[in-house]
Amino acid sequence: MIHLTRRALRTMKNSSALLSLILFAAAPQASAADGKLVIEAGKIVTLTGEVIEDGKIVIVDGRITAVGKDVDAPWDADVLDASDLVAYPGFVEAITSGGMDRSNENVDIAPFLDVRDSIDPVNVTFENYLRSGITTINVQQGSGCVIGARGHIVKPFGRTVEEMSVKPRAGMVLSASPKRGKSRATQAQALRGAFTGLKRYLEDTVAAAKAGDDYAKREAMYQGREPDEETMKGRDLDCSAWKVEGMKLVPRWEIDEKQAPLVSLVEGKIPAFIYCGGAMDVRVAIEIAESNGFLHKTTLVVSGDCDRAASWIAERGIPVIITGSLTRSEINEETDEMEDVFIPKAYADAGVRFALRSANSTTQSLAYQAARCVSHGMSREDAMRAISVTPAEILGVAKRVGTLTAGMDGNVVLYSADPFSVDGVVQRVVIEGEAVYDRATDSRVRHLEEGIAPDNTEQVDPRAREYAGDGEGDDGDAGEED
């Protein structure tokens, strides 16, 4: 059905000059006829350990049907000639609060809200994601919360959130580090209070339902009729940490919309992303998740010196998403000397699975962050996994994205060279079988590289502008979260 809609829209695009004006810069460059596309790539890196020289990727109806050197392609498929390019699976952004009209809510506990109502499809963030080969994005509320709104996994292409949608209601953010106006202790108090409040609410609801049923029975007896048949309307609470007896009496749709998302959380039905700003937050985050039965669905979103708690995290077997700076300095107590810690390596050494995040003061590229891992002595495989397979697993979409294999979504990024090298740039991007980006026609890139401004804009040579600082010390990371 989504497919049909998209085709209908495509027809509209082609016929309407007016509509084409509102398309964003990276408009579709080629359309797969009847949803069939063959990418003929100079090299295919599947990220399953296989590298195919001069191979083909066949995508039918948005899904990859075959990858290999000698695979049959439908005779009527469109062909994307990428013989001088390297194909990678589209990269996965494990978490971001970019692309929304604002990243945080004032309310402490807001899981009854949904980020889909805040995602702005024409936000330039999505265009930049496309430009840097990121095709799956987990949009969540920022860290300024106690429990945030429900998140949404999207792809960076489409004019409505529905078109962009990969997975709705994709978990929620919790924060163990204090939001504005709170201390560590009061933040933890609010966090814990949300769950004790939930338990109390459920118990009260059950008690009310039971009282109502009992009353109905007595009324029937008094009036001389048989009591109404008891119907099992609800089901037991499936929480491994605590129980509420009698949940069968309460149909799920009767649960308050402010509490219902928390029920999904304690039942382990949706992932939890817990922000930890420093190592001390890890203890609280783990305790909250453990005592409410969702530790196995928890990913810690770590920054600062959280890696000092890496062994605690490893013990629980939960993954992390590394945000903020990838390095930090600490004083070695024995030598009294300043030492640099490369954070991803600290996690890897402790045996913690980690995903990287694109946000950086100079680029919005996951490949760049992964390349830094390689430059600090980590293996290419580990670095690549941190921006593809691991985030896909964390988001619960590992069966759809992260590698180039049959059955996966047709998300392919075509690089001019090794993505970890300086001259490896994203030339083409294919999302679900549609070629949605071509660097050759990217007006912003042309503006930057050749000084040619997009149509209908003032011609300004960017190189002629006055130098206004290189952004160093501006703390580019902090801007996004807070």
């Binding site: 201390s183 007595r218 009036q223 420093g278």
Partner: protein, 476 residues
Amino acid sequence: MRKLSIRAPFVISALLASAWSPVTAAPSGDAVVIRAGEVIVRPGEVMKDVDVLVIDGVIRRVAAEIEAPEGARELSGAVVCAGFLDPWSVLGINATDVSFTSVTPSTRTADAIDPFGQEFQKKQALEAGVTAVRVQASHRALVSGLSSVMSLAPNGDEGLIASDETALGASIGLTDPSSGGSSFAMGADGSFTLVESGPTPMDPFERISQVDKIVGLLEAGVAYRVSQNAYAVDLKEWEEAIAEKVKELEKDFKKAKKDRDKEIEEAKEKGKEFKEERYKEDKAPKAPKYDADKEVFARVANGELPLVVEVHRTAELRNLLEATAKFNRLRMVIAGGTEAAPFAKQLAARNISVIVNPSPMGEGAFDEFDGHDVSLAATLAEEEVTVLIGSGGRSAGASRDLSLLAALAIGGGLEREHALAAITSGPAKVFGLTSHGAVEFGKQADLLILDGQPLSTTTSVQAVLVDGRVVVEPKK
């Protein structure tokens, strides 16, 4: 925290075993044997030339010539005593939480503990023999929330918190360090001079009103508990009445059914609509709304949780003692008590302990302790007030000097035994830490090996064990 109840069967079997033969077949686990010239079981109770056997973090035996189990580590020293417990500290608390004041009674200091912070201060305190601290964040708030007891050498995250809700903290009349400041004063010639003023002490009336506020909160806690109990009673009555009613209804059901059938028939004959008879019963009582903060004060007023009030001046002390006299279950502890000496008899009679901070004078001393007399601890102890010694709950580094503070109190006339009790068995008893504070069977093995008598300035700590693990290695 280890539970004593688990060990109970052990007591019997160990006693039986020791009656027959010296313990030879020791249980497996990490074992340590300390050969001591002297073991201070608890202040005032000394055993000469004995050994201490520790297995799995617990003291299993204190006796002469214990045979070391296979693989056990053997240590020796002149004196062995229990690790020091600072009953009034902020060591290991995130700095922001220490000064933060927008907290409620149910805010837990346990949540402000930074297991990775202040490593240097923790190490120094540990080397000075302090093995655990009672920490209270937000000490400047009228009600500071729930304090915890934290181990200074936990094994990972296990054993970090020995007690997460140890006491409720409160404070009266503390000077706000950010008060005061600078202003311009106009001189006779029309020129302006900058006048700097230090923090201003709290207005006396405000200090007294703080006492009233705490009493008000205690009363609200009592009322909350009363309403809960009343609800339980009402609910039981209602349930019994309803059960009675159900019996009746069951008995009358056949008749009711017959009547109903008849009425339906009649209604049909008359062409009228049948109406069910209206059922009436007493409404169920309504449960009081849960309130976490009132619940804390209910526990405090009922003596389930001690209330530690930091208070220094005579006026507030007198008012506080008078106003709280009616709460006969309240377990109050005074922290600071700079001018508490005149109230010693009353404090002893009401079993109110005092955590004294024998603060050194001079640079860095805390305002509230101005006028502190080093003989305060001795004066109170003479009147049989339980005296504890703490580092003042303001600076993380202060816990290191706990034994020196105790020595200072000894200099002020406090008996040595009292001083040692004030930082070992005393805090353990007042704050209900049943497995701390003594060197005897069943206690957690937080032990110090010293080269002389504790609290002497010439004695140094040779080695420290926490939970049976050697965390400060023997010197030499």
